[in-house]
Symmetry: C2
Subunit: 727 residues, 2 copies
Amino acid sequence: MNRNISRLAVYATLCITFLAASGQADEGMWQPQQLPEIAQQLKTAGLELDPGTLTELTGFPMGAIVSLGGCTASFVSPKGLIATNHHCVYGSVQYNSTEKNNLLKKGFLAKTLNQELQATPGSRVYVTEEITQVTADITGDMGTGISGIERYKTIDKNSKTLVAECEHDDRYRCRVVNFHGGMEYYLFKQLMIRDVRLVYAPATSIGKFGGNVDNWMWPRHTGDFGFYRAYVGKDGQPADYNEDNVPYEPEHHLIISAKGVAEGDYIMVLGYPGRTNRYRTAAEVKNQFTWSYPTAKAYREDYIDIIKSNCAVGSDTRIKYESNLAGLANYAKNYGSMITSYNKGTTQQRKDQLEKDLSSWIAELPDRSKLYSSSLKELEQLILQGQEYQDRDMVLAYMGRTTMMSTAYALYKLANESQKPDLERDSGYQLRDLPRFEQRMKSIDRRYDSDIDKALLLHFIKLYATIPHIQHVKSLDNFFDISKESSIESLRKLLDGMFAETKLGDEETRLAWMNKSPAEFNNSSDPFIKLAVATFKEREAISEKAKALSGDIQAYRPKYMQALIAFYNDQGLPVYADANSTLRITYGNVKGYSPEDGITATPFTMLEGIAAKQTGEYPFASPQKLLELIEKQQYGKYLKKDLGSVPVNYLGTLDITGGNSGSPTLNARAEFVGLVFDGVYESIIGDWDYDNDLNRSISVDSRYMLWVMEYVDGADNVLDEMEIVYQ
Amino acid sequence: MNRNISRLAVYATLCITFLAASGQADEGMWQPQQLPEIAQQLKTAGLELDPGTLTELTGFPMGAIVSLGGCTASFVSPKGLIATNHHCVYGSVQYNSTEKNNLLKKGFLAKTLNQELQATPGSRVYVTEEITQVTADITGDMGTGISGIERYKTIDKNSKTLVAECEHDDRYRCRVVNFHGGMEYYLFKQLMIRDVRLVYAPATSIGKFGGNVDNWMWPRHTGDFGFYRAYVGKDGQPADYNEDNVPYEPEHHLIISAKGVAEGDYIMVLGYPGRTNRYRTAAEVKNQFTWSYPTAKAYREDYIDIIKSNCAVGSDTRIKYESNLAGLANYAKNYGSMITSYNKGTTQQRKDQLEKDLSSWIAELPDRSKLYSSSLKELEQLILQGQEYQDRDMVLAYMGRTTMMSTAYALYKLANESQKPDLERDSGYQLRDLPRFEQRMKSIDRRYDSDIDKALLLHFIKLYATIPHIQHVKSLDNFFDISKESSIESLRKLLDGMFAETKLGDEETRLAWMNKSPAEFNNSSDPFIKLAVATFKEREAISEKAKALSGDIQAYRPKYMQALIAFYNDQGLPVYADANSTLRITYGNVKGYSPEDGITATPFTMLEGIAAKQTGEYPFASPQKLLELIEKQQYGKYLKKDLGSVPVNYLGTLDITGGNSGSPTLNARAEFVGLVFDGVYESIIGDWDYDNDLNRSISVDSRYMLWVMEYVDGADNVLDEMEIVYQ
C-alpha cells in the first residue's frame, strides 16, 4: 500500500475534495469539547481511557498539560518539574550562556533546587483552567451594515472587556480567541506562573543533533528535550521570581513510560498548535504560495546571511543571535519546502475544485443559495484588497524585526497608547501587557549587536526603496531621504550616525522611555526616537486601514465558513477548527510512510544511527561519552528488543504544527512516551493541506530521554523525581 | 534486521575478517567451473536448473550470453537479436546522431532489418566458447631468480604465443587472463562477430532517465535497455560489415518473462564483470583511497568542466563529447562515493586486521611460516616502488586522454612496433589489433573538437608543470619549454600553433600514418608527430620500467594469494577470483536494504515514480506519451498486482561491477527477467569491500521494457521476434 503513495499524491483525481474537514484517519486538531463527537474513532484507534476524561481541563491528563506561550509542556513530577523540547528551553540556555561558560555547548544540569537558573525573563507557564463560549458577548447583534472599522473596534472592545473581567484575579491570564474565522469566540482562562527556572538541558550536540540539516527531516536522531520547573510564592500562588519561592505543586502530573511504544500503537498529543490554514480560499492559497512564501523565504535568507557574515561562529555576538538565526532558518526551510510541495502537488487544483464543488452544492437548493451564495465572492473581494500593499507590508515587517527601529517604534507607540483608557488601547500596550513589554526591553542587550542591526536595517531600507512607489510611506522616504537620486553611501552614513548617537542600546534608557509622554518623545534628539515620531502618524493610518479591512473580513469569513461546514456536515463529516494556539487533541498511531516510490521511512531510529551520522562537525558532533556508550551497546533497560537498540525518535500520524512543540506524546493510557518536536518534510505543507499518507509527526522517544539522563548526563536527581513505569 | 545495518556497518567488530572470500550470502563472482563447489548454495537460494548446466559454455543458458567488450549482452531471438543496456548501445546511437537528427533525443527503432543502423565502428560481439587452464604454459618453470623484465617478457611472449595459436582460426578472438594476481592463467576463446547493428533504443529520456543525478542511486526509474543485432556472412561465419550479411543464428537464446520477479525470488546474472580489488593489501587500499581516487576524481572534474565550458548543450560539438562526458562523470561520482564510504566505514581497519590475522595464522605452524611468511613483505616493497612516480603517471594518463597527443603517440608507437616480429610487439600493436586500431583512427572525427582538445591539453600540461621536478619527463619539458620561467601565454601560443598546423585531425592523414616507417615520422614537420618522436625514447624507458616492476609483482603477488587462499580454505571458505572481464556467475535474490537507520529501500519502483520525478528538464523529462499512459494507468499485461502498477527497476543482492552492465538478470529457470545496469550508492565501494547488508544491484524490470516497447514506442516487430512467456 505504501508504495502507492507517490501515485496517489501526484494523481489523486481532482474530484476528491480536500480532506481537511473529514476527520478521517488521523487528521484533526480537536477541541476538548468535541471529543464525545469522535469517541468511536478514538476507541478504534486504540484509546484505553474513557474519551470523556479528556474533556475535563483540570482532570487527568489535561491538568498536566501547560503552555509556555509558543510551546507546549507538561508537569512530570509533583514538584512542578516540566518536560518540554530542547528547542523550547533553548532561549533560556542561551540566556544563561557566555563565551566562557557556554551552556549551549556543555548542556546544563541542576543537581539541586538551588542550582536551578532563571529562565529567559518573561518566561511563563500557563495552565488552562476554563474555556467558555462567548460568541454572543463578542459579536452581539452586529448586523452587516456597520463599517469594518466599527466592527473591528466593537469586537476588540468586547474582547478586551471580557479579558479584563477575567483577569480581575491577577493570577490569571485570559484570551478571547476566534474560531472558524470569527464564527465562534471562546474565552480562555489560564493560571499564569511567572517564576520559571531551567532544571536540565542536554548539550546542544544532543538536543539539537542534526541542526538545520536534519530539521523537518527523517531519519532523525534529535534528543529534543529539556526540563523547567514552575515556582510559586510560599502561599502556593503565582509570584514574580524570588529566591524564596517554592516549587509549584500541580494537581496532576504525567507518568513516564520506560516501556515506550511499538509500531501501530495508539498515541495522542495534547497541546497548543499555533496556526493552520486549512480553510483558506483558493485565491488566498495561490497568493500565499506564489508570492508570500517565496518573498518571505528570500528575506529570511538575506537576514541570515547578513547576521552570519557579521559575526564569527562561537563569538559572544554569535551566541546572542543563535536563537534568532535558528528561528529564521527554521522557517526559511519551512517555506522552501512548502513551495516545493505546492509546485509538485495538486494542492491548488484541489482547492479550486473544492470551491467548485461547494458552489454546486450551494446551487442545489434555493434555500442554500439564499443563505450562502454570495459568501465566497464577498470574501474574495476583501482578500484582494488586502493584497494591494503586500510588497510594502512584507518589507516593513522584516524591517520591523531589526532591534533599534522596532524598540523606538514600540516605545513611542506605548507613550501614545498610554494616553487612552486601558480598554481602548491596542493589544500589547494595555496595562496587562506592561510586564512583558518591560522584559522585552530588558532582554535586548543579550540579543543585540549594533553592527549587525545596522547592516540588517540598511539591507531592508535598500529593499524597501525598490518596491513600487505608490506603496511607499512618505514619511519614511523623507526621513531616510529615499529618492531615485539617493545613494547607498549617504544612507550608510546616515545609519552610522544614527547608531552612534542613539542611547536606546542602553537598558536604563529604554526603561526610562517607558514612562515618558508623547511630548517628551517629540522633543527628543535620539535619532531612532525621531524616526519613530516622524513616521508614527502614517504608520498609524496604515494600521487603522488594516483594522478596518480585518473588521470587514470578520463579517464575511464566518459566512464562508458556515457554508463550508454545512457542506461537510451534509456529507456526515465532523469539522475541527483551524489551529489558533488553543488547547487541542490530536490522536493517531506510530507509523512509517513512503516519502517516495521505492523508499519507506521506518517508524523508529536508534542509537547506532547517531553514530553513523557522526562527522565531528556541528551539527553531527555527538559527545564522546555518548558515542562510547553506543559502541559498548550500553542499552540498559531502554532496549527495544525487535529493534536491537534504544529507539531515539519515532514517526506517528499525529496532526500537529508549530506550538505543539514540547507536547508530551501519550500512549493509550495517557502515559508519557516521548515529546513531539517536528514533522517530516512532506508534512510541512500540512498546515494548508493535510495528506494522510504523508503527514507524519516526529517524537523523541521517552526511552532515549531516559537513556541520555541515566548514562550520558547522570541526571539521577531528575530521574528520581519522576514517576517511571517499566511495563 | 535491516534496521541494524548502520550499526553493523559502523561498528562491525574489528576481529571479523573481510568476507571477500567467504562465499557467504550473495557475495561472489564465480567462474563457471566453480559452480559444482557451490551447488548447494545455489539450490538453497532457489535455483531450479541443475547447477551443472551452467558450466557448459555452449549450452543453455551460457551459450546465449555474449560480451560486447566492456558490456555484457544476450541473444534474445533466433535471429541474433541482442538485448543489453541503453548505456551500452549509447555510443552507437550517438554515432548515428546529428544535431538535426538527434537519435539520442528521439530514440531509434528499426521496423525492418534494412532500417537497422551500423553500430559504432569497431563494435563486436564475443561469444565465449572455450576456457582452458594454461598456467603451466605461461609461467612454466620460471624460478624466482630471474629479473622482473625477463619474467614480464616470458609471460608476455608465452601468452601471445598461445593467443596466436588460438587465433589461427580468424573467426576467433583469444585472451590469456591471469587470476589471483598471476597464480593461475586461463585461455579464453571467443567467437568474434564483426557486423553489429543498432535495432532499437528508447529515447534517452527513458533510457538514461535520471542521468547523472540518479546514477548509482535508489530509488531508480531508468529504462536502461536497447537492442543490437549480430550479422554474419551468408556462410554463417563472422564477416566485416556488408549489406549482404545476414542475421546470426545463435544456438541458444533467452526466453523473456513478462511475469517478472517478486520480492525474495532467486535471480542470477551471467556476465563479464570488469575488475574488482577484493584481495589488495592494506597499503594498496590506503594509497588508492587517500591518493589515487581523490586525485583522479579531481582530474575528471576538471576534464568535464573544460568540455562543458567549451560547447553548448545540444550543439554538434557537445553531441560528440556526450559519451566521453558520461564516462567521466560516471567515474568521478563513483570515486567520490568510494572515498565517502571509505572515510565513513571501517574498510581500512578491517584490511589492516585481516593482514594481522593472516600473519598470526601463518605464524601458527612452522611449515606455514616457511611457505608464506615473507610473501606479504616482499609484495609490499614492490607496491611502494610503484607509487614513487604516481603523480607523474596520473597526470600523464589524463593528458593521454586528449585526442591529438594520444593519436600521434599511438601512430608512432605503431610504426616502431611494426619493426618487430609480431609476437614481440606490445599488446595493442600486433597484427590482430590493427583492425581495431584502424577503427579508432576512423572514429576520431565524431568525437573530437580541436578547441576542446587544446583546452584540455593546456590544462593538463599546466598541471604537469606543478608535479615534483624529479618526476618530470625531460623531453616533454623541453618540447613545451616547461621551466619556472615559462608562462601560460607562451604555452597557449605554442598549442595554438600546434593545433593549427597538425594534419592529424584528418582521417585520411591518420590512416596514411598507420603505414609509415619510423624514419618518415622522424622527418615529419607535423607538430604532434614531432612531440611523439621527441618524447618517445623517454616514454618507452618509463614503460620498460613499469614492465619490469609488473614482472616482479607477478612473482610475488601469487605467493601472497596462495597464503590468503590457504587461510580462507582453512576456515572452510571457497574463494572466487577478483573480476577480470571474464565470464562469471553471481546469484542472489530480489531484496531491498536499509541505506541508513530509519529508512528502507523497497525492492521495486513503479511507473508513478517516473511521473513524480518529472521536472520537464533533463534528466527528468519523460516523453509526454509515457506520462499520459501513466496517468491513464495503462498497465496492460505488465501490472504487478501487489505493487498496483508496472515495476520499473528492482533491487537484488547480485555481486556485480562494471562490465556486468547489460547482463540479463535471469530467474530460477534462467528466463530473462530484466537487465542489470547499476548498483546502489552504498555498494560502489563493493569493488574493494563487499557488504552483504549494503551491496545491491539494480535491474530494469523486463515488464517495464515490454511496457515501453508495446505502449510507448510501438516496437511490435521487436516484441514479435522475441519469445515471451506470461506465466
